[in-house]
């Protein structure tokens, strides 16, 4: 036991004395939370649009200023002919062009009907359809106002309630995702690399000839990363509660123990990678493509899993982060207890046992 503790101490010194790495490892979750929390929104606002006003009358001017006043649009340019539209789009800034035909006011006053054309740059389909929807809604509002809010007959109203996340904050779905990503990085990538590094530099040989059991050497390597992960989990949770106002609705104890379960799974995977590889670059490559990309892509936190074709949906089931993401979302935001997530917990535990067994089986005492 004393030997084991001194090995753990050695590993701590490794991490402690490489302050640049430590700084990044501890800073990463903070930067991610800030970027995801404040910079990335799927909301569309301040989009630059252009107006092609061939009529230039009191109506078009009012609609123009209504559009400009909304927080969704900034009118960035005035165009003068249809040809300008393509040129404006090709320059890249303008996302939508509002076209008023000639005689807009006259049509509206004499025939009671006039046309507005919205031309969207649909390179980004979602932004295009959102902008078109918003612009249409603003124009319709204006129309209602000039017809004095006369109610149309046979109207179906819709009333909407946003459950769990009334302000549609992105934080609710990304906080669990950032947790999964950071734990994966610290545990899988870093563990795999530190072990392989000792192999690459030849110091593994020195440790293998020591009286310490080989398996314990490797476990001693994992302990500091487990602790680092606990620090990261706490900083993510603190930031999300106090900076992003994302509440922890479920039991904190359950959340922490599930996180530790996931951390252990990641560590086991890191061990497995280290038993299979001899160079740091290969280890990194496997950790990135085998663990990190699937976590980002297939855990459901960046991209909705239901949208994916079935082969990807099948693969997503073997990604531990998917289950962890689900559990954290349920426990943290919906506030459910263990009874609702026992199945997912069991799956994660199964994965942990499987990965551990596999890496112990592959662990070689002898040098190649």
């Amino acid at each position: 036991m004393k030997q084991f503790i001194s090995f753990v101490k050695k590993e701590f010194h490794h991490i402690w004395r490489d302050q640049r790495t430590l700084f990044i490892l501890l800073g990463m979750p903070i930067v991610q939370i800030i970027i995801f929390g404040f910079a990335l929104t799927n909301e569309v606002k301040n989009s630059q649009i252009a107006v092609l006003d061939q009529s230039n009358d009191i109506y078009t001017q009012t609609i123009r200023s209504e559009l400009n006043a909304s927080r969704y649009f900034d009118i960035a340019a005035d165009l003068h002919s249809y040809k300008d539209i393509e040129a404006a789009f090709k320059k890249g800034r303008i996302k939508l062009v509002v076209v008023f035909p000639e005689n807009f006011a006259a049509d509206l006053e004499h025939f009671n009907t006039a046309q507005i054309q919205l031309v969207a740059d649909a390179s980004d389909p979602n932004v295009a359809s959102t902008l078109t929807n918003y612009a249409t809604a603003i124009i319709m509002d204006y129309q209602d106002r000039i017809t004095n809010n006369r109610k149309l007959p046979y109207t179906i109203h819709t009333e909407m309630r946003m459950l769990y996340n009334p302000q549609l904050k992105g934080a609710y779905s990304f906080v669990p995702g950032v947790m999964a990503m950071v734990l994966m990085l610290v545990c899988t990538l870093m563990t795999a690399i530190t072990i392989v590094r000792e192999k690459e530099l030849g110091t593994m040989e020195i440790m293998l000839v020591s009286p310490m059991q080989p398996l314990k050497i490797v476990i001693a390597k994992a302990v500091p990363y487990l602790l680092l992960s606990v620090v990261n989990i706490s900083s993510i949770l603190l930031l999300s509660v106090f900076v992003l106002d994302v509440p922890i609705n479920g039991s904190l104890l359950l959340l922490l123990s599930e996180s530790i379960l996931f951390t252990l799974t990641c560590l086991a995977f890191g061990l497995l990678i280290s038993t299979k590889t001899g160079s740091q670059q290969t280890a990194m490559f496997i950790a990135l493509t085998g663990m990190f990309l699937p976590t980002v892509m297939l855990s459901g936190f960046m991209f909705p899993i239901e949208n994916m074709p079935w082969p990807l949906r099948m693969i997503s089931n073997i990604v531990p982060a998917k289950w962890f993401y689900f559990i954290v979302k349920e426990v943290m935001i919906k506030g459910v207890g263990l009874a609702a997530v026992w199945k997912e917990t069991l799956i994660l535990t199964g994965m942990l046992v499987f990965l551990l067994a596999l890496s112990i089986k592959n662990f070689k005492i002898r040098l190649a």
Binding site: N46, L152, T158, E306
Partner: protein, 372 residues
């Protein structure tokens, strides 16, 4: 010149004899381009809907049929218990609940108006937003049909009406992959460029072979050029492979000219390689270099407008995006591939990128020391 040639020979040999790097060069493009666009599909479809129908009238059934026929929604459950529907939401089996009140049809016909209720699982904001918008527009469509049945509209509308028509340019079929693939291509080239350069140089430091080079008469610029040129060539090779895959797998052929893409990429790669070089001068071990490049790539990619629109970011984030080379390349890629922009349209981008290339490389060269 001769020195440089020998150095290049050495570097190319090193690259082509390292299975890890070769795997990275050929597998990364394949995995990223063949898998990522399928996963990164923000097109919202298959929204799980649970209908709570207290009315059981002809109208409520018509409305339900219309919604399920739209193709966006999958009817998960049709019941008359709100608690049951909420239970489905809790289990994540339903995203949206549409509740039709008991006197829906009667009220609509007799009192001229009626209300339906929607409850949206809003944990995933995008899905909630778009799903609710789709559902609302279907209800409005249905509303129009009902109105047409009850009142004959005269040919000249007595009420003032502004008709809004819309058209979508450059991507009329609203194909999300057309938008994502060029962006993913950029990420690919960037990752390979910066990761490989920084790791390669730091590896020589860590293993100690850099000492051997430092004691030879090889000049500083020889060494750096010898490192940069192979990865510059590799970057362009990967771009070509990537363009090939996106043509073969998705049928994406750039609308603009290949010249524009390659000229810009050539400049861009210089900037990215400079970044890799810079990282390597600040780090001593592969672990540090990897972590630092990873960290920077993450910030650059998230704040590049690849997934979310830059316009809606706050001021400080916008400032970072304009100091981020990845932003410019993604912009250029999308403009050239989707809209066919030419050199005139991207002249500003090229100038900025030249600035990045010169600045980053100069910084790296100044910072590189032959002494340890």
């Amino acid at each position: 010149m001769r020195t440089l040639r020998f150095l290049l020979q050495k570097e190319f040999r090193q690259v082509f004899r390292d299975p890890a790097i070769l795997r990275m060069i050929f597998m990364m493009p394949a995995i990223q381009l063949l898998v990522l666009p399928w996963a990164a599909d923000y097109e919202i479809k298959n929204i799980q809907l649970s209908v709570v129908d207290h009315d059981h009238s002809q109208y409520s059934r018509q409305l339900t049929n219309k919604i399920t026929a739209s193709g966006y929604f999958q009817l998960q459950d049709y019941s008359d218990s709100y608690t049951k529907a909420m239970h489905l939401v809790e289990k994540d089996e339903a995203d949206l609940v549409l509740e039709i009140p008991a006197d829906f049809e009667k009220k609509l016909v007799k009192e001229n108006e009626s209300t339906v209720f929607m409850a949206v699982n809003a944990i995933n904001g995008v899905k909630a937003n778009l799903g609710a918008a789709y559902l609302r527009s279907i209800v409005q469509d249905y509303n129009r049909e009902v109105r047409l049945k009850w009142i004959q509209l005269p040919r000249f509308s007595p009420e003032l009406q502004i008709a809004v028509t819309s058209s979508n340019w450059f991507n009329p079929s609203m194909n999300y992959k057309l938008f994502m693939v060029p962006g993913i291509l950029v990420v690919l080239v960037t990752m390979v460029g910066s990761f490989l350069t920084s790791l390669n140089i730091v590896r020589e430091k860590e293993i100690g072979t850099i000492e051997q080079i430092n004691v030879t008469p090889v000049k500083k610029y020889h060494f750096i050029l010898g490192k940069l040129i192979p990865f510059w060539v590799l970057g362009l090779l990967i771009l070509t492979i990537g363009l090939g895959i996106s043509w073969a797998a998705y049928g994406i052929v750039p609308l603009g000219s290949f010249w524009v893409i390659y000229v810009f990429s050539a400049v861009y790669l210089l900037a990215v390689l400079g970044l890799g070089l810079l990282i390597s001068t600040y780090t001593g071990t592969q672990q540090q270099a990897m972590l630092l490049s990873f960290f920077m790539m993450m910030v650059f990619i998230l704040l590049s407008g690849l997934y979310t629109s830059i316009d809606s970011m706050p001021g400080w984030a916008k400032a970072i995006t304009s100091a981020n080379p990845v932003t410019y390349f993604i912009d250029v890629m999308r403009m050239v591939v989707l809209k066919g922009s030419g050199f005139n349209d991207i002249s500003r981008h090229i100038l900025v990128m030249l600035g990045f290339a010169v600045g980053l490389n100069a910084w790296a060269v100044i910072n590189y020391r032959k002494r340890s």
